[in-house]
């Protein structure tokens, strides 16, 4: 468990978060979430409510948010499920932070496609900006985590920062994004490749080219006429 988060000291965390309760706004969201599931199936709301709680903690601490033990227990009481069952869920999903993180949680994908497309450079950029894997920068802005595939392989390499993806990165683009975030700006999300909109093929399509301009029926060419 080299990467396992150090779960913070219990007494201190309990003192700080023991009285956690929904804000008025989140109370409405809680009701909305619970209404999605039939009576007796409140356990299904574990994940959405943990997410909601993490966001509220984030809002209160000006960070991406994390799940202190008392907050996990609060969610468990909300849905009437033993603490252990919700704790299991919170530890299973990497989207739930079990230890405090910075304002921006930088999750660099290092899985094969991203690695082949240069995630090492992205990692180097983070390192040169003073980000250390598994740690938060002293100014409390960035926490760096290396993660497995985020499903953006066609625009690799990528990072996920809080709720946004930044794709088609290289060393300079990564530095630029981090610096923009430092200044409090919100850089353009998605692909950073000029001229690319989403994950369409770079340099134009190489297959189904006849389909680019208008709809085209390939079936006669394939020998099975409509």
């Amino acid at each position: 468990m080299a990467d396992a988060p150090e779960i913070p000291d219990e007494a201190e965390v309990r003192a700080r978060w023991g009285a956690f309760a929904w804000t008025d706004e989140n109370k409405k969201k809680r009701d909305e979430v619970l209404a999605r599931y039939p009576a007796g199936r409140e356990q299904s709301a574990s994940i959405p409510l943990l997410d909601l709680a993490q966001r509220q903690v984030g809002a209160e601490t000006q960070t991406q948010g994390w799940l202190p033990i008392p907050v996990i227990e609060f969610v468990a009481r909300e849905i009437g499920v033993p603490y252990m069952r919700v704790y299991e869920v919170a530890t299973f999903y990497t989207m739930f932070n079990l230890a405090p993180v910075g304002r921006y949680h930088v999750q660099v994908c290092g899985t094969t496609p991203c690695m082949l497309r240069g995630s090492d450079d992205v990692m180097a950029a983070c390192k040169n900006k003073g980000l250390i894997k598994g740690k938060t920068t002293p100014d409390g802005l960035f926490t760096l985590t290396e993660v497995e595939c985020m499903g953006n392989c066609s625009s690799a390499p990528m990072v996920q920062i809080n709720d946004d993806n930044y794709e088609d990165l290289d060393y300079d683009r990564t530095i630029a994004i981090l610096e923009a975030l430092e200044r409090g700006e919100h850089p353009k999300t998605g692909t950073q490749e000029p001229g690319r909109h989403t994950v369409e093929p770079v340099g134009g399509p190489t297959t189904l080219t006849a389909m680019v301009k208008e709809n085209h029926d390939y079936r006669p060419e394939w020998g099975n006429a409509a």
Partner: protein
């Protein structure tokens, strides 16, 4: 009933059976780790792979695959052999080779199955995963690096114990089994996960590094920690019982045992009475058997027939019968076992019996608990109620609210509610096919008549079904009642006796006894402190005895070890004493005693459920009093053996009184 072919042999299997069960019916052994008959199916160890036709051309996990008609199952093909070797190799990748220092060694599923189904050598040269130890309480020792994540312990805690405090955190290679925040598991059944664990990840903490299974002499006997009569096996080496494990008995304990049953055995070698004592000048001093007997004989000359015998909670029927015979020789029938002053009517044994039977609880559909904390008074009856609830049963309860591990509709602690049950309860009972009521010790004092009156109102007696149950929690109680250990006024009738024998009785108010007190027992507890003469007896592990459990099941246990020092089996003490008193009892061997007992109480002669005719006494149907609590105040310290047991002391301090213990640095 589907017909399947297992390795070419056609057999018929019950509907709903799995392929694994079909193979077992055909006599084929299927290796498994996560599958367990009494737990839900997880299907995550993959050890039970077999080849099934028709089906995809790959091995199938037989534990989770329903057996279907015309299925052909193969358990000995090269594909199956290969699959098992592969699974075994994966399981062993992260399993340490520490069998020489592992307590599971010699009785380890992984060890046995790797010999039978493994490759014989490893190709894995990388580092193994290591997992930190988890704290699970005073009973369970963990070495989590050995865990193969079968999740049996999680499923046991959730399904059987009803305490969802064990879980799997993190995921993939990092998955770890732990109790919630590594707090002690607050279950009185936690020791069972040690038996369930197929590897050495969860082992017994008190028994750690004590012995190897092949060194132990195994004796089959009956547990006396509660009235369930758990069938146990005592494992002993030399003169010491080292551990206690449950035996399978579907009618009584299935294959579970409470922590008290398992771990009170270390109290058997502590605070023992190993020689007679006689009180001289207010102090107990060591004496020889002759001196002790002479002291009693001196008093016995003058007492006439004012002789009483008080039964302790752990006494076996043989001891009780010998005590009864001795009292009879004096012309007395002052016998009592209900030490705490209970005086309920015992004129009909059926009216104080658990008539539904323990296994019958599972089939009940509405259950009313009256003044009983089942979790402490009979934890293994409580698990049966959990099973009944799983099948749709509804549970109501009268008494102070307590956590019984399942949903209960509490009707308040005032017994008066029995005379005026809410409509919800009466409606449920009116619709019920198999309704039952369990009356605990707390309610027997004030509401025996009222509960008996409810038998008709709630329709508890149906064809082939008796739903009226009284729950005892002393191992000697039913046997004692059958032998007549009950007075009309309870133990108060015995207080005036000039000579009183206490057969391991430690719970009564000794100051009320004015006469000469003789204590025959095995532990230096309250009874010995107050006695004028102490005669060292044998504990349940040191004698062959008959016990009757709460449902009237006559069971017999064998002697595992010999009593320490000068201590003797209790009936032989009474027999020897009777000779000194000039009232020689008419039996010289255990067989003769049992024959005499069979004449006195024929039900005790045959093992199995005793049949009691249902003819309840006519009692006033009044129910009075608000229950302030339940009779058992501390589950772990209910008798002299537990109180002498360091493990039980520790459980009590930690789980009942909330003390925390620092783990020794390793």
């Amino acid at each position: 009933m589907p017909k399947v072919k297992v390795d070419g042999v056609e057999i018929e299997v019950p509907a709903g059976a799995t392929v694994l069960q079909a193979c077992e019916l055909a006599g084929k052994e299927i290796p498994r780790f996560c599958y367990h008959e009494r737990l839900s199916i997880a299907g995550n160890c993959r050890m039970c792979l077999v080849e099934v036709k028709p089906g995809p051309p790959k091995p199938q996990a037989s534990c989770a695959l329903p057996a279907a008609d015309n299925q052909e199952i193969f358990t000995n093909t090269p594909m199956v052999k290969n699959a098992r070797e592969g699974v075994m190799e994966f399981l062993l990748i992260n399993h340490p080779l520490d069998c020489p220092i592992c307590d599971q060694g010699g009785e380890c599923d992984l060890q046995d199955q790797s010999v039978a189904y493994g490759r014989g050598s490893s190709r894995f040269e990388e580092n193994k995963r290591a997992v930190t130890e988890k704290y699970m309480g005073p009973i369970v020792k963990t070495v989590m690096t050995r865990c193969i994540q079968c999740t049996r312990c999680i499923r046991f805690a959730e399904e059987v114990a009803g305490v969802e405090e064990i879980g799997a955190i993190y995921r993939g290679e990092n998955m770890q089994i732990t109790s919630y925040l590594e707090e002690a598991v607050t279950s009185e059944l936690s020791g069972n996960v040690v038996d369930l664990c197929p590897v050495g990840a969860l082992t017994s903490k008190p028994y750690a590094f004590e012995a190897r299974p092949w060194e132990l002499k195994k004796t089959l006997t009956i547990d006396v920690m509660d009235a369930v009569g758990t069938n146990i096996r005592l494992d002993s080496r030399g003169r010491q019982v080292l551990r206690c494990v449950p035996r399978i008995n579907e009618d009584v304990n299935e294959e579970w045992a409470t922590d008290k049953t398992r771990h009170a055995v270390d109290g058997l070698v502590r605070r023992r009475l190993d020689r007679p004592f006689v009180r001289r000048d207010g102090k107990l001093v060591e004496a020889t058997w002759d001196e002790a007997f002479a002291a009693i004989a001196d008093v016995a000359k003058t007492v006439g027939d004012s002789v009483a015998v008080v039964s302790g909670d752990l006494a076996d029927c043989e001891t009780l019968f010998a005590g009864k015979a001795l009292a009879k020789a004096f012309g007395s029938s002052l016998l009592e076992g209900r030490q705490t002053g209970m005086d309920y009517d015992t004129s009909s044994l059926a009216a104080v019996n658990f008539n539904t039977t323990i296994a019958g609880v599972e089939t009940a559909d509405v259950i009313l608990l009256v003044g009983t904390n089942l979790r402490w008074e009979a934890a293994l009856v409580n698990t049966r109620i959990r099973k009944a609830i799983k099948k749709g049963a509804k549970v109501f309860a009268v008494g102070p609210e307590t956590d019984l591990t399942y949903k209960v509709e509490w009707l308040g602690a005032d017994l008066a509610v029995l005379g005026n049950l809410p409509a919800a309860v009466t409606d449920a009972f009116a619709k019920a096919q198999r309704p039952m009521m369990i009356v605990g010790g707390a309610a027997m004092k004030g509401a025996q008549g009222a509960t008996l009156a409810l038998v008709d109102t709630l329709g508890l007696i149906k064809d082939g079904w008796n739903g009226y149950n009284v729950l005892h929690f002393s191992a000697s109680r039913m046997g004692g009642l059958m032998l007549g250990y009950a007075q009309k006024g309870g133990i108060a009738d015995l207080h005036a006796a000039k000579l009183a024998f206490f057969l391991g009785a430690d719970e009564c108010d000794f100051t009320r006894f004015g006469g000469f007190k003789v204590y025959i027992g095995h532990h230096g507890d309250a009874g010995a402190h107050h006695a004028d003469v102490v005669l060292p007896g044998a504990s349940y592990a040191e004698k062959s005895g008959t016990w009757v459990n709460l449902e009237g099941r006559v069971q017999r246990g064998e002697r595992a070890v010999f009593p320490p020092g000068d201590a003797r089996e209790d009936w032989t003490i009474l027999r020897a004493l009777s000779e000194k008193l000039g009232k020689t009892l008419p039996f010289d061997t255990l067989e003769e005693l049992r024959a005499a007992m069979a004449v006195d109480c024929p039900d005790l002669a045959t093992l199995g459920l005793a049949k009691f005719a249902w003819n309840p006494p006519a009692l006033a149907a009044k129910a009075e009093g608000v229950l302030a609590g339940y009779p058992i105040k501390d589950f772990y310290l209910t008798n002299a053996i537990c109180r002498a047991s360091p493990t039980m002391q520790r459980c009590s301090a930690e789980l009942i009184h909330g003390e925390t213990f620092a783990e020794a640095a390793e």
